[in-house]
Amino acid sequence: MKNLLASFYAFATIAMAQGPLDPSLLTKPLSDSWPTYSGDYSGRRYSSLTQINQSNVKNLTLGWVSRVSNGPSSFGRGGAPTITGGVATTDSSEAGGGGGTSIRASILEVNGILYFSTPDNAWAMDARDGHQLWHYYWRTRGGTHIGNRGLGMWGNWLYMETPDDYLVCLDAKTGKERWHKEIADFNLQYFSTMAPIVIGNHILVGTGDDLDEPGFLQSFDPETGDLQWKWYSVPTKKDDPAFATWGDLDTAKHGGGNVWIPGAYDPETHLYIVGTGNPSPAYMDSPGRKGDNLYTCSIVAINVDTGKIAWHYQTSPHDTHDWDSTETPILIDGQFNGKPRKMVLHASRNGYYFTLDRITGEHLVTSKYSDTVNWAKGLNKDGQPMRDPEKDSTVPGALVSPNNGGATNWPPPAYSPDTGLFYVPTNDSYAMYYLTETDPRGAMGLGGKDELSVGSLGAYLTAIDYKTGKIAWRHRYPGTGGNLGNGILTTAGKLLFAGDLSGNLVAYDPANGNILWHTRLGNVSNAPETYLLDGHQYILIAAGDTLYTFTLY
């Protein structure tokens, strides 16, 4: 203990300058830094910082503004050097690359430096004034450029996934590339957006795929980039116990279940707890999909040392609407039925909320958090919603809630131990699902249906009591449209920060949803974060191509 303390103080004195990430920060409650996707491993996005609190939040003021631009050139971008990497011989992103810069990532804050990303681009920025230190640009082979969820950090190294399926290791100090490794086959239509999660000497990496290829989670060596293990979310062999939940092996091996949003980690059990994506083909009830289709649309617990599955809980057995269960699960210690319990909280895209035991995966609570959801015939004995086949896509059309975007989606939820509430952006939406592929062999991937939006009856910031699954309060966004917020931050200052649907960054009272402060940025594009530097707490937010901080002077 003495040694640990000594090294902690030694670390504290050098923490004033750019430097490596102290791994012990990752297992401490979220405080001065933001060293991983969710801030800490729990996924709670609850900061213990209290300098900004309910009594002074009304005095919050602009700290700094900084704008970035995608693309290969550093001209006119604050003089920071652009370092170019990549394997493509021609630049396919050149044409539109600079136009639509949108920061949707979690931003790391380590030793006074911010590290963040967009597809093919990474930056280091001074957290005190927003000036750029370096910019890295990856020349892409193509692939789906839907977003990039952020960087991972181990020591002095940063890790980024690229849309064309490479894991790139960068020197955090200079932005220079150390190595890149191919993590999935580009020809098989994989694309990679996930923020790598660093646990011990494991770099956990997921990928996406909209064709019928199998999903997987991989672990790489942080020094060499060598593969340590690979866990498939669908059966690849007949002796896999999950095979009993499929009609045939060929369909199972093409069964989807991609892992494309980071999970949470329990250091006590060494379990990485993560949600998986939809089965494939997404909208077809083909004979090969007969059964529940494990481990798609599930919360799974993977041992980080072995890559083996410890438990699973499927939130959408036999999904037929592309409703992934990928939203980051939140790990909490709390009371349940009068006893202390270690739990997982999760809201699925399908409109249902779940509380599980995180040691065993035992089901504790299910509730419907969207009033309009109409695709299930109730819950089975394990608390799983039972699909109503009449609400699958049909030729004359089925009116289904939620729409394909979901009652919620991947944006980060949050939890506050002060209130015992789980916070999530939600949308009560409807769509007509038309089946266009009547070939009994089924369509591929997301094909075979046409979904026409019918509208939303309301979009909300929703607070759920994890003990009962009941909605404690919810704030309806004014107006008649519907959409989904971009994620949530809670703090020990008894504050909840979130972007609304009109471009405002808003501070709420997490106990009741009362509004305490706001500012209009025009287009909030990620989940708010916070850090403390030189004795001052900052609130950090992205709005399109621009980062803003807010602080107290």
């Binding site: 059309g397 094909g447 509208g455 008649t480 405002n504």
Partner: protein
Amino acid sequence: MVERGRAIYGVNCQFCHGSDARGGEGGPNLIRAEIVLKDQDGELIGPVIQNGRVDQGMPKFPMSNAQVADIAAFIHSFRVAGYDNSRMKPPTILVGDRTAGEAYFKIKCASCHSATGDLKGIGARFTDPRALQQTFLMPGGRGGGSVPPTTVTVTLGSDQKIEGRLVRIDDFIVTLTDSEGTQRTFRRDGDKPHVEIHEPLQPHKDLLGVYSDKDIHNLTAYLVTVK
């Protein structure tokens, strides 16, 4: 080359793998097969064709490399993407009961609409019944149809009410266009000033949680006959 490949494929491969290469009698879907996805011009497909996979039921075919390249060109001519737009032409959606649809219309729709008034000829205006169905579910969406604007009333004092078209609203601001075409923005602090939104599509929204899919299909079957 694709045409030559189509001919060779038709003779030798189609029975097992399907005319569209998505699988047929016993043969797997080729379009999503790993070897096909990685293949450029027959270099990976070739050995499988020429040597077969006898243990898996795939016979060997004594083809030249040029013939293999033709087959590869044909298979690669199918677009490969997760969003499969190639099969978006749906069969007819008209499965409902016209009489039941008319009865439903009288109960749920006739307080605002009339088959001889505002909806006269609606069945003739739409060539695609699906567009008609979308339009009555939510006018102004992908089915088309014109929608009266959403309006808003802002009550400033005890008797000062300002009305106009809603431009935008959030928790802090409401903007409207008044009768003279001027945009006016008002700060909002909770319920001050009092703001009332008039959503002309509210009855359509209210019905979403009410109708069954059968009701919807019956209504469509009826409305296509309103000439």
